[in-house]
């Protein structure tokens, strides 16, 4: 409709067969964005409103960057259709409460922060690593991928991390193991760690929470329940944290990992399985016909 402005895509990078990044011009958003925030995107007028983390933002250039994994109808369609020169139908944000970044610990020393990213979670943890780095913290990066072909943004992280631990499931890059193994190594080396930020699939975030729980280290995770409006209006994104119902889009998406009810999150993420499969099947038929 004529009520939406156009949001031009100015850059695209294909990171792997299923992962790509889009850089979108939106000067106001680039200026407003803070680590931990996300946007709601509609790629076309009949599309879904889907939440995507702001993986990078550049106020000077007036752009924000999204890293997207093509997992279902909407994201695979975006992978096909969102090219440089096209525009997104709608993009609203930056949404959610920004991650609090404090320049010093209570003792006055610079804090030590471990930023853990698993798979696609590597992208959303980047702005947090950068912000902590800029605030003077010591930043440990722990990045996990299935294999070396899926590794991305390693250099961006090297620029903002004091140390970087790269893990792959098969050992084809960095050390062999899961991010939880990398996290353990980081915590052994830095028992003074004041906070751990873990972003990735729910199982991974839950595993990281269990690694830090015995040490009592503050751990924050970014939850990704299914969303519709992203403005606190539908309650579809509700999660259980510390026994209370919270709406991830306006009360989060970052929460204290030790209080999150991950079982609840997992079961709510499965809710639309059938419909998603249905949409995917329909779309594939249409695509095949178009070819």
């Amino acid at each position: 409709g004529h009520w939406a402005s156009a949001f031009p895509i100015v850059e695209r990078e294909d990171i792997s067969a299923v992962t790509f990044s889009l850089t979108v011009r939106h000067p106001l958003m680039a200026k407003a964005a803070r680590p931990g925030q996300f946007v709601i995107v509609m790629s076309h007028a009949e599309g879904e409103r889907i939440p995507l983390t702001i993986a990078d933002f550049d106020a000077a250039a007036g752009t924000i960057t999204l890293v997207i994994q093509a997992v279902g109808k909407s994201t695979r369609e975006m992978q096909r259709l969102c090219q440089v020169g096209t525009s997104l139908h709608g993009i609203a944000g930056p949404l959610g409460i920004p991650t609090p970044i404090e320049a010093s610990t209570r003792s006055g020393a610079p804090p030590t922060i471990v930023c853990v990213g698993g798979g696609l979670g590597v992208a959303p943890v980047y702005p947090q690593a950068r912000a902590w780095h800029d605030a003077g913290a010591r930043v440990m990066g722990v990045l996990g991928f299935r294999n070396r072909n899926l590794v991305f943004w390693e250099n961006k992280f090297r620029d903002v991390c004091d140390e970087l631990i790269l893990c792959t499931d098969d050992g084809s890059a960095g050390t062999q193991g899961m991010v939880t193994d990398g996290l353990r190594l980081a915590l052994e080396a830095h028992p003074e760690t004041s906070e751990v930020i873990a972003i990735g699939p729910p199982v991974m975030m839950r595993a990281c929470a269990e690694v830090t729980r015995p040490h009592g280290i503050r751990t924050s995770v970014s939850l990704n329940p299914i969303m519709v409006d992203g403005t606190g209006m539908c309650g579809g994104c509700r999660v259980r944290v510390g026994g209370e119902v919270k709406f991830a889009c306006v009360d989060g998406p970052d929460f204290d990992a030790h209080l999150v009810d991950f079982d609840d999150l997992a079961s709510r993420l499965r809710r639309y399985g059938e419909e998603e499969a249905d949409a995917m099947a329909q779309w594939e038929t249409v695509c095949r016909r178009a070819e």
Partner: protein
């Protein structure tokens, strides 16, 4: 002029309105109420007594000159009737459809003391629809001022405020968080009660007045209220962000698969057009046996949407009795006609798991009405030992909403203890130049009250900016 009308001389029966037959309409999204045609409207207009004391005008929150516009219908001066209504009501085609007339204008109509009251709402809708069809909303002469006003939220409060300020010569921009304007009119109230084209037409009328709409703009997050005044060059701001934050009941099982808020259901169905899934990408979960908790307009809309999407049976669970149901009378009546099953004096205490994380049933308890509570309604109390299982595979909560938290999270504005914005009688907030109105100030109310608040705030803004000589003729 013809002889003075008396209660004996007017048509005794209220002119019925044509409706889609219940069983047919319960399966489509076309409007239920088909509206009056010219002769029906003319006949119903004959029923007004043109009372000297005009109780109906006092019953209308925006004091429309009701006998005035009905007299114009009698004289076949429909455009004149539109002008009369438009003097105080920006959205006649909307209010004629959705006002709870039985509690407002029609509830105090003199004719209603002995017969069915004059169908004021239907007449208003008739005029409003004619105005849209014939494009009667003209751009009046507006003497421009240099003032810029930003409106946050495009619901009825924001739209009404925008219209008045545009007519006062301000440059008005409306910022809306969602991708389409209209607020609850767009995402909440379904097409079979208020077609999207009516909202589009009303938004287009505002654009003719020079109002700009900027969707996809979450104020507070993209820029703050303070930044609007300090950096973005707005001389005043109106906040009409509504009370859209849904309440869940907080009973065991309320995060099971198949449990959702009415807002989610309605947003998927209306705003996202999930009823056309997979042509539109957004899916909608649908059970066969749907239980909707609550009996307000939101509950009625949610139930009737489920029916239209193909649910086998839809139940209304409400802890008070039919008399206390807050929905418009017409909606309860329509829902009954369409085959919704009502379970009055029944309250859920838990949602039960089928073993796979989905809903199998609700545990409910029977209620009885005790002493009146703060709201003056008799308080429902559980009858001990009356618990029973109510089989269902989807549960929709339509039990009320709270203030949207984003503005509170991101500004210095003073909130009251329930999280709503604090204002004075002019609807000015704690920040100079910032006004607020509608559901974000009062809590969930009605379309016409939100519009009235938008207009009150517009008048306050005009005074605040020191604009004089605002033309009264629209």
């Amino acid at each position: 002029m013809a002889a003075k009308r008396t209660i004996r001389s007017i048509p005794q029966e209220r002119t019925p309105v044509r409706e889609q037959p219940p069983l047919e309409r319960a399966r489509n999204f076309v409007e239920v109420n088909l509206g009056y045609d010219a002769s029906e409207a003319a006949r119903e207009a004959q029923r007004c007594l043109f009372c000297a004391d005009q109780p109906c005008v006092r019953g209308c929150p925006v004091s429309i000159d009701i006998p005035g516009f009905i007299r114009q219908i009698c004289h076949e001066d429909h455009q004149g009737a539109y002008d009369t209504i438009a003097r105080t009501n920006l959205l006649p085609a909307v209010c004629g459809r959705v006002c709870p007339q039985e509690n407002q204008c029609e509830g105090v109509c003199t004719v209603g003391e002995s017969l069915e009251p004059v169908a004021i709402g239907r007449l208003e809708r008739y005029v409003g629809d004619l105005a849209i069809a014939n494009d009667w909303a003209r751009r009046p002469y507006i003497s421009p001022t240099a003032y810029r006003v930003g409106i946050v939220g495009s619901g009825p409060a924001g739209m009404a405020c925008a219209a008045d300020l545009a007519k006062a010569g301000c440059q008005v921009t409306v910022f809306e968080a969602l991708h389409l304007p209209g607020g609850v009119l767009r995402y909440g109230i379904p097409d079979f009660r208020l077609p999207g084209e009516v909202i589009d037409a009303e938004v287009a009328n505002l654009e003719k007045l020079g109002v700009r709409f900027e969707c996809n703009t979450v104020v507070g997050r993209l820029f703050t209220i303070e930044q609007m005044l300090e950096d973005l060059g707005f001389d005043a701001v109106f906040i009409g962000t509504g009370a859209g934050y849904p309440t869940m009941l907080g009973i065991p099982g309320d995060s099971l698969g198949g449990v959702l808020s009415a807002n989610e259901l309605l947003t998927r169905a209306n705003l996202m057009q999930a009823r056309d899934f997979p042509v539109h990408d957004t899916p909608i979960p649908l059970g066969k046996q749907v239980a909707v908790v609550g009996a307000g307009n939101t509950a009625m809309d949610a139930m009737r949407v489920c029916l239209r999407l193909g649910a086998e049976q839809v139940h209304c669970i409400y802890r008070r009795s039919r008399t206390e149901a807050p929905a418009r009378a017409e909606e309860v009546h329509h829902a009954e006609q369409e085959g919704i099953e009502f379970h009055w004096l029944t309250n859920p205490v838990a949602v039960l798991d089928d073993g796979a994380g989905n809903v199998r049933a609700m545990r409910c308890v029977h209620m009885e009405l005790g002493e009146p509570d703060d709201s003056g309604r008799r308080r429902p109390v559980p009858i001990p030992g009356s618990e029973f299982e109510f089989p269902c595979d989807q549960v929709v909560f339509a039990i009320g909403t709270n203030a949207n938290p984003i503005i509170g999270q991101t500004s210095r504005l003073t909130l009251n203890r329930w999280g709503y914005l604090q204002t004075d009688d002019d609807l000015a907030t704690s920040i100079d130049g910032v006004f607020a109105g509608g559901d974000i100030v009062t809590g969930a109310a009605t379309v016409i009250e939100a519009m009235g608040a938008g207009r009150t705030a517009a008048a306050g803004i005009v005074r605040h900016l020191g604009i004089r000589d605002v033309r009264r003729r629209y």
